[in-house]
Symmetry: D2
Subunit: 283 residues, 4 copies
C-alpha cells in the first residue's frame, strides 16, 4: 500500500505541435508548463500540476510512467526494496512539476518514476473553479477529459512484470488473462480503489518497453459518446469503440493522436474495487 496512485505518464511525439493541439483543443486539456522539448499538460480534475508530459522525439512511444508514493516513508521503503536490484536506476532531481524521484525499470524495460514531493496545481485567475473542492475550472472545450485514469503497456513476459509490481512496488492484481497453456497474457494492476491504474498485454512481437495507450477518464458514458462525435468532427481517427470491455467493464473509445500514440477515453460508471482481499479475476 505504499504507492498512492498513477501520477503522470510521459509520451513521445514526432509532431509536438500537432499533438499539443490535439490534447488541448480536442481532449480539452490545459498546458501547465514547458521545459526543453517537453510540454506539461493536465486535465481539469488532476490535483497535481500535470498528468501528461509530452516530449518531442523521433518516434512515438512511452517516455516513462510515474507513481506517487503515500508518504516520504512509503517512498523510502520502496527504494530500499529496489536498491541493488537490476531494476534500480537511481535518484533524479525530479522534474518541472514534482520533486526528487527514484527511477527504476520493470522487467520489460518501461521506465518508472517513484516520487512523493509534488506540486499541487494552483489555477491562474481565469481557470479558478467556482467550487472549492475542484482543482480547476471545467473547460467546456472539446472532450473535457477529467483526470488521468490509467495507461496500458505491452510486455514480453507478463508474469515477470506482474511479480515485479507485486513484490517491489506492492501493487495489486485485479484481473488477468491466462492462456490455456498457463502463459499469462494480460494483467490489470491497481494501487487505488480504481479497478486498474495500468495494464499490460503480452507483446507477441517480442519488442520491449512499448506503450499501448494512455487513458483519460470522462464523467459519464454519455460524454464518451459525445467524445466520439467530437473526434469524428475533428478528423481524429477512431480505432474502435465506444464499446464496453468485458474485462473490467470499462466503457471506452480508442483514437490516435497526431503523433501516432493511441489515446483512450473511458468511463467506468460507479465501479470500484473496495475489497482488500479481492481475488484476481482470471479471463
Amino acid at each position: 500500500m505504499d504507492m498512492a496512485h498513477l501520477g503522470h505518464v510521459e509520451i513521445l511525439t514526432p509532431k509536438l505541435e500537432e499533438s499539443l493541439r490535439f490534447f488541448i483543443d480536442v481532449l480539452g486539456m490545459t498546458q501547465s508548463g514547458v521545459e526543453g522539448d517537453s510540454v506539461y499538460l493536465r486535465a481539469w480534475d488532476d490535483y497535481e500540476r500535470h498528468s501528461l508530459k509530452l516530449t518531442a522525439a523521433k518516434q512515438p512511444g512511452l517516455g516513462h510512467m510515474a507513481l506517487r508514493a503515500r508518504s516520504p516513508q512509503a517512498l523510502q521503503r520502496r527504494v530500499d526494496a529496489l536498491g541493488g536490484t537490476e531494476f534500480a536506476l537511481g535518484w533524479t532531481d525530479g522534474d518541472l512539476c514534482h520533486g526528487p524521484a527514484f527511477l527504476c525499470r520493470d522487467p520489460d524495460g518501461h521506465h518508472i518514476e517513484l516520487y512523493y514531493e509534488t506540486q499541487w496545481y494552483e489555477p491562474p485567475g481565469p481557470l479558478r473553479p467556482a467550487l472549492k473542492n475542484q482543482a480547476q475550472r471545467f473547460p467546456a472545450r472539446g472532450c473535457n477529459v477529467r483526470r488521468l485514469d490509467h495507461w496500458n503497456g505491452l510486455a514480453v513476459d507478463i508474469k515477470a512484470n506482474r511479480e515485479f509490481f507485486e513484490n517491489y512496488l506492492g501493487l495489486r492484481l485485479t484481473e488477468q488473462i491466462v492462456l490455456d497453456s498457463g502463459i499469462e497474457a494480460g494483467m490489470w494492476m491497481t494501487c487505488t480503489n480504481k479497478t486498474y491504474d495500468f495494464a499490460y498485454a503480452r507483446d507477441a512481437t517480442g519488442t520491449k518497453g512499448r506503450l499501448h495507450h494512455v487513458t483519460y477518464a470522462l464523467n459519464s458514458r454519455e460524454e464518451v459518446l459525445l467524445a466520439a462525435d467530437i473526434f469524428l468532427e475533428n478528423g481524429i481517427k477512431i480505432e474502435t469503440g465506444p464499446h464496453k470491455h468485458a474485462i473490467q467493464q470499462t466503457f471506452f473509445l480508442y483514437v490516435y493522436e497526431p503523433g501516432g500514440n493511441r489515446v483512450e477515453v473511458v468511463n467506468a460508471g460507479a465501479r470500484l474495487i473496495l475489497a482488500p482481499d479481492w481475488k484476481p479475476i482470471r479471463g
Copy 2:
C-alpha cells in the same frame, strides 16, 4: 397544419456585446449574420441560417417570434384568414436570413412573423460537419445547444390567445392550466410532434407582450446537468433547476443572460406527441 415549426425568436438586449459573448461562448452558438443593430445566431442543428436574432435595445424583452409555414400555399391560407382582422399588421420584405413575412400580433400584442421562404444554412469550411445529415459541425464549446426548442411568453388573457393561435394559425393545444375559477392560466401550443413550440403563462401584472424565456434543446439530460456546471463556472446566474417540470415532463434549467433575458436549456428525452387527436391535458 399550415404552420411547420417555430423558426426563430428575436430578443432585445441592452448589453449586446455581453449577450453575444453569452450565446456564443457559454451556450455554444454560432454567429451567422449581422445587420444594423442585430446579430443573427444559430445552434448547430438548426437547419435555417438563424434561430435567434439578438437586437440592441434599451430594455430586454421579445422582439418577435416567427413561425415557418409548410408551403407558400399554407402561408397564403393563414394570411387570408388573418386579413382584415385587428391582428393583421401586413407584409414585410423579410429579413437578412429569410424571405417575405406576414406580420401579425396576438391578442396580447406579441409580434409574430409568418414566412415560408428561408435560407438553409451553408456552413463555411471549418464548420462543415463530418456527417451529411447534420447542418453544422458540433462545436464542442460551452453548452453545445442543439436547436431552438420553444419560447415562453406571458399574456394577460390566456383564453383569447389560445383561441387566436388555434383559429387563425391552426396550432394545437397540448396542455393547459385552468384555475378552479375556470380561468385559463397557462397554455402549451404546438405545430409539430414536439410537445410544445411555445407556451404562455398568465401575466398577473396585467402587462402585455412580455417574454418569459427562450429555450434551446440539448441532446440529453446529462448535457443539461453539464450545462449547470458550465453556467456556474462562468458566473451565469442560475434561477432554478435542473429540474423536471411535471407539465410536459421537460428537464430544464433557467438562467439569465447578461442582457436580462431568461434563457432555458432543456431535454425532453424521447417524448413526442404523435396522436393527431391528442386531448389537451388539464393541470
Copy 3:
C-alpha cells in the same frame, strides 16, 4: 400529410410463449389484450392500446404494419387514392384494439393497415401513472422501452416502394442510399417529425415482404447502454451495437427475440426533422 404516425406492427413467432416473456420481462412491455393466436403488447408511452401484435405462426416475420391517419377524412382520401389499384386489398373490421382498417400492400408485398379509429389506452389501477400527461406507469422492469419507434423491412425494388409510399400514402423520404449504378438501395420514410417511421433496405436475395427488425425507443443513450447489459444478463443474443448509425445518427442495438425476429432499441437524442421542405440526404 394524411398519415399521422406508425401505429403498430404485427410480428409472427414460432415460439409465442418465449417471445412474450422476452417482450414483457426483458423489454419491459405490458400485455394489453389477447385474441385467438395473438397477444397485444404496448410500451409505457404508447398512447394507443397496443403497438405490437405478436401472433403465433410457423415462421418468424412480419404480419403487417399499420399507419394511423390524421382524421377520418384523411383516411378516406388515402383509400380513394388506392382504390382500384393493384395495391388495394379492401376494408377489414379492424382488430381488438382499433376500428375499421383499409388493408393494402406495397409493391414488395408487405401488408399495411390504414386506420383512424383507435382505442386510447386506459391503464388499470396499478398501472396508472403519477403524472396526467403519461399513458401508463413507468414499469421499472427490464429495458423499459418507451414507445414504438419504427420498423425496418427489406424490399426487392426500393424505388418502386419509395414511390408507392410517396404517391399513395403521402409519406416523405428523409434519407436514402443510391448506389453508383443509380439503383436505390435503402430508404427512410416519415410522416412525423421523427426522422423515420420505417425504413427499407434492398433485399439482395430477391425475396419479397421480409422484415428486418422492429424498433422501440428508449429515453436516452444511457438506457440503450443499460439495455445491452440487460440483454447480456438474460442470455439474449446481441447482434451488433450499441453503436451510432451514420445514417440518421440513431444510437442503436440489435438483438434477436426467442422467436427469431430481430428487435432494435434506439435513442435519437433530440434529433427531429422540422423542415417541411427537407431535402433527402443521399448516402
Copy 4:
C-alpha cells in the same frame, strides 16, 4: 489505512414488511438472509453477502455501522488502540453474514462494528451474472442500486467525533463545515478513494446517536433521474433532489422509506480522491 471500507449499515424499522418491499421492489435490492427480526439485503455490486441489515424495531433509526478492516492484523491494531478506552464495547461473535466483530461506539454513541472475516456473496443460479468480474446479475428492477455508498449521521459534537475517527480508526477527513464561531458543523470521512464513506452533520437538537440517511450508489446521473421517476410512480415521498451538492459534488436524491428512514441515491461521476495528502476542504 487499517480500515478498508464501509461494510454495512443496520437500520431499524417499525414496518419491516413495508420497508422490505421498498428495498427489494423499488430500490432493486436482493434479500440474502434472514435471522430473528432482521433481514439481510444487498445491492448487485456489493461483494459481501449483505450491505444492509434491516431490523424490526419500535422506532426507525440506526442499529450500527460496520467497517471492514484491511487484514486481521489491521483489525487487531485498531482493537489495541481502542482497548481500555470509554469507546470500546468488546468482541461479538459476528453476524449471519460476517465473522467476529469488535464493537465500539463513537463519542456521539453510534455503534460501530469493526470486522475482517466476511462472506463473499455467492449468487444462486438465477442471479449469476454474465461477467465473471461482477458479484451478481444486474436486476433490471426498480432503481437498480449498485452498491452501498455511505451513510450520514448526526452528532452533537462534530470535533470530538472527527478526532475519534481520525485517531482511533485512522480515517481521513476530506471536507468539513466550520462555522464562523470556529465550531465544526459537518464532517466527511473516508477510508477509500471515494470522497466519503460516511458523514456527520451537527445535531442542533442535542440528541445523540441519530441517523440522517443511508445511501446507495447508482451507475450514472441519468439513473438518479430515472430513480426520481420510479419513486414518484411508487408513491415514495421525495424530500429533495435530484440536485448536486456543492460539498463533494454528489448528485443526489432523498426519499423516505416506509419505515421512516431517509434513503439517498447518488452518483459521483468519476470523482475520486487520489491524493494521499488531500487537504480537507473547509466550507
